[in-house]
Every structure is written in C-alpha cells, then in structure tokens.
C-alpha cells in the first residue's frame, strides 16, 4: 500500500518535472528556427534545418558588451541588495528600538509601487544629478527596488534564529558587528542564496529601467539585445530565441551553484542546531 503511494507520488513528480523541462527544450528548438517554422509548425517539431546562424547573427550584433554589462550590473546590485537587506533585517529583528515596526511597514509599502508609476519621477531625479546614461543609475535602482522583497524574505528566517545565539555572544563580549558579520550572516547563507537567486533573475531580465535611463550602446544590457530583433513591422523570433538561450546559460550556471548553497548551508547549521 505504502509502496503504491510512493509510486504514485513519483509519477506525479516526474510528470511535473517533464512539464518544467519542456519550456527549455522548446526555447532551444525555437532558437534554431525561422519565423515561418516558429509560427506554423508545432512548437516541439524539429526545424527543417538547424539554423545555427541565428546564434551567429546574435553574436555579430555586439552582444558581447551587453553581456558584460549585464554581469557586472547584476552582480554589484545583488551584493548591495543582499548586504543592505541583511543589515536591515538584523536591525529590525534582533535589535531593540522604537519605530522598528514602522520602518518595517515602510519597507513593505516599497513593495507596492508599480514600476510605471516610478519611471518618470526616477528619470527626472537622475537627470537632475546628471546620472542619466550612467550605469550606476541602474545599479542603484535595482538595489533600491529589490530591497523590500529581499528584506521580506530574509525576515521570515531571521525571526526563526534562536535568541540564545546573540545572548551567548554578548556574554562573550562580542561587538554587534562581530555578531552580525561573523555569526548571524554566515548562519543565513541558505536564505541568502535564495535571495541571490531571486535578485539575479530579476536584475538579469529587467529592461524597462535600462531602456529608459541608458542611451549609449556601451552601457546597455542583454535584454536590450532582445529588443534589437523586434522591428516596426517584422520581428526576428529565431534570433530572439538564440539571445534568450545565450542569456539564460550564465544564470542557469549561477543558479545551479547557489541552489546547492541553499542546501549546503543547512548541513552546517544542522550541525550547530
């Protein structure tokens, strides 16, 4: 009986897994087709010929510099976001002060702003400090707009950390910085990996801010590379597929790396627990 239950469970799990893998396979096939095949044939049919030239086209369009910009902008923004959000989460959950509830509430309000409400005021602000067409405007925007959600995810975990940890540390004469950087921060590696993955996906795929704040080609990111193939009357979908595949690879690798961290951290904290 129990066996049958497990079998059923596995069948369900594998069916879902197949569903989840198909989109990537689809995208790969998509990237090797031309518009004709993309629109007329079944999405999972093989292309009549493998059009690797789509990749060549994408490569020739100067995707290299976009790629590098995506990498560093995403990376720097993640470091800022995760560090600042961790510090804020620490202050809100572990330290005692009036107004922590209010500040937390304000962070939550920060979740709620629709991007199209903020884009014009933000543009104006950056214009006033001469930061339009400056990649740091993007880094700062990403950091600020991902802070609320990152903080919210961290909070749930910070609440579960036992108080005894700091109590013991303070008894030992640890400073607050030491508690945060040497004890608490390392303990939250699993959830930090989680937020890194989420931030990474958001930053990597974002294009509204980049398109609005950046006008020079040298600062544009990968998502702009996709726009390159969308025309007034014609869109080159095969090339878009190739761009999507190329741009997916690095985050897939980073994802697998951090995804392992989600588990790794646990084994070490399980020892402590």
């Amino acid at each position: 009986m129990k066996r049958v239950g497990y079998m059923l469970l596995y069948v369900c799990l594998i069916v879902v897994a197949v569903f989840q893998v198909f989109p990537v396979l689809w995208l790969f096939l998509f990237s090797l087709k031309n518009n004709q095949e993309i629109f007329s044939k079944s999405p999972f049919s093989l292309p009549s010929e493998f059009r690797w030239e789509n990749y060549l086209k994408v490569w020739d369009s100067g995707i290299g510099s976009y790629f590098w910009n995506s990498v560093w902008i995403t990376g720097v923004a993640i470091v800022f976001t995760v560090l600042l959000a961790s510090m804020a989460a620490f202050a809100i959950t572990r330290m005692q002060w009036k107004g922590s509830k209010l500040v937390l509430g304000l962070f939550m309000v920060g979740l709620m702003i629709p991007i199209h409400s903020s884009i014009i005021p933000l543009f104006n602000m950056f214009l006033n400090v001469n930061m339009i067409d400056n990649p740091w405007s993007i880094v700062i925007t990403y950091t600020a707009y991902n802070l609320p959600i990152t903080l919210m995810i961290l909070l749930g975990f910070y609440y579960t950390l036992p108080r005894e940890i700091e109590e013991a540390a303070i008894m030992d004469g640890c400073s607050v910085h030491r508690i945060f950087f040497k004890i608490i921060f390392p303990m939250t590696i699993p959830v930090i990996s989680t937020t890194v993955i989420i931030n990474m996906i958001y930053n990597w795929n974002e294009f509204v801010f980049v398109n609005t704040f950046i006008s020079s080609d040298e600062y544009k990111t990968l998502t702009v590379g996709i726009q390159n193939f969308i025309g007034q009357y014609m869109t080159d979908w095969g090339a878009i597929g190739a761009t999507l595949i190329i741009s997916m690879l690095p985050i897939l690798l980073a994802f697998l790396f951090f995804s392992n961290k989600v588990v790794e951290g646990i084994s070490s904290s399980a020892v402590k627990g």
Binding site: L13, V16, V21, P23, V24, L27, F30, S42, P43, L84, A85, M87, A88, F90, A91, R94, M95, W97, L106, F107, M108, V109, M112, I113, P114, I115, H116, S117, I120, L122, M125, T141, T143, A144, Y145, L147, I153, L155, G156, Y159, T160, E166, S175, V176, F180, P190, V191, I197, I198, W204, N205, T223, I226, G241, L244, M248, F255, S259, I266, G273
Partner: protein
Amino acid sequence: MNRVMSNKWIIGMYILPAFLLISIFIFIPLLLSGYYGLMDWDGIGAMKYIGMENYFNAIQDGLFWQSAFHSFMLALFSAVSLIVYLAISLVLASKIKGSNLLRKIYLIPMLLSSVAIAQLWIKVFNPSNGILNSILVSLGVDNPPAWLAEPAVVLYAIFIPILWQYAGFYILIYYAALKNIPESIVEAARIDGATPFQIAFKIKLPLIMGVVKVTIVLAVVGSLKYFDLIYVMTGGGPNGASEVMASYMYKLAFSSNDFGYGSAIGFLLLIITLIVTVVVRKVTASKEELQY
C-alpha cells in the same frame, strides 16, 4: 544585552543605508506620482492643477474597478496556489530519492524571461494550432475555445502562465525555509512515531508559518501590481476583459497621453494594495492565534 543591542548609532548604521535608498528612490517617486495625480497633464505640455478631480473620476470609473476586480482575482488565485507550492516543497524537502535533482528541475522555468514565457504560452493557447487545442481536439472536444480571444475565459487562461511563472519563486523560498528546520526536531518526532504527514503538518508547517505569511503578502502584493505577461499576451483585451490595474494605468499614462489620470490610478493602486495587505496581515495573524 539590551544595552548592546539597542545602541542607537549602531541601529542607524544598520538600517539607514537601506532605508535611505528606498526613501529616495521609491518613496519620492511614489509621492511624486501621487502629486502628478492632482494634475491635468498629458506628460508633454504644461501641467495644470485640478485638485482631486482625477481621483474622483477614478473612483467613478467603471473600467478601473473592472480592472481592480481582475487584479483581486489574480491575487486570490495566487494566494490559493501557494498551497500547491507548499505541498510540492514539503515533498521535495522530505528525504525522498532524487529530490535534489527534482528541485532544480522544478525551478528552471523561473529563469526564463517574460519574453520567452509569453511566446511559449501564446503558442500553447493558439486557437487553431496551439498545443492545448490540439490536445483537446484529439480528445474529441469539438470546438475548443479561442483562449485569448473570448472575454469569458481570457482572464483565467492568462492566470495560468502567471501562476506557473511564479511557482519556482515560492517553491524556492519554501524549500529553503523547510531545510532550515533543524534536523533534530524532525528526528525526535520520527522517533516518537509520527507519520510523514504528521511531521509535515504538525511540525514543519507551524515552524515555517512566518515564512508562509510573508509569501502570502508577496503573492497578494505582486498580483495586485502585476503587469508583464498580461501586457504582452493580451494587452488587457479583448476590450478590457483581461485588463488589470497596472496595465490600465500604463495604457492611460503612456498610450492615452493622460499622464495625470494614469498617475492617480497608480497611486490608488498603491492605496488599495496597502489596505489589502493590512487586511491580509490581520487575517493571518488571528489565524495563528487560533491555531496555537
């Protein structure tokens, strides 16, 4: 302890960088958009102050409330589907064989950008040669609906890719939360003879309740301001049948050149979201008190 952990300078040092960032880059734009809502402004020429007129108009605007209703439905569906994600995460986090690989596979679609997801689902929903209708026809359904063209079904059809898009996000969070539970607690329960179900519902679930509550807020807030796939896949159509608050706002501000009114809608969206969030927090808090 108290003295160390309530040092004002240190608190400031930890909270201020993040707080300043969101104050400058989120709250100022937010207040400005509320302010633009007081203007008659096409976003091009001169602004004219008209007081609360845009806000009054919005409150009487049937299309706005229709789009708000659609956003609410999305929030409801998103919140309910959290149960499914939670169940999947409980299975993945238990020590069944292959869970590590399965977990990674489950999260992969999350890496796809909205552009890709939209294209994929447009092809799933295509009325004549889409995947879904091909399956339905082969199952003997005579005249399967044109999913994105029929006002009665389009809204729910488009929810599917949206929920699917975010599944990975929540599974990832739940998984990390579940893995954060000290092994010793689960082990102790197992020794006491608890079944896997009991461990999941009586031990693990209560322990990650804080995280679950956070995800409810995230799901509700994220749904109420949702924009991406709706805009790409249906543009809010046909004739507003899949319009949500954010797409309505975008249309007004960017397509209809009514930037003042669009900003007012954007600001109302925020107020509505705020109210809903407070209600959700209240409801989930009281539930917790009842349970424990």
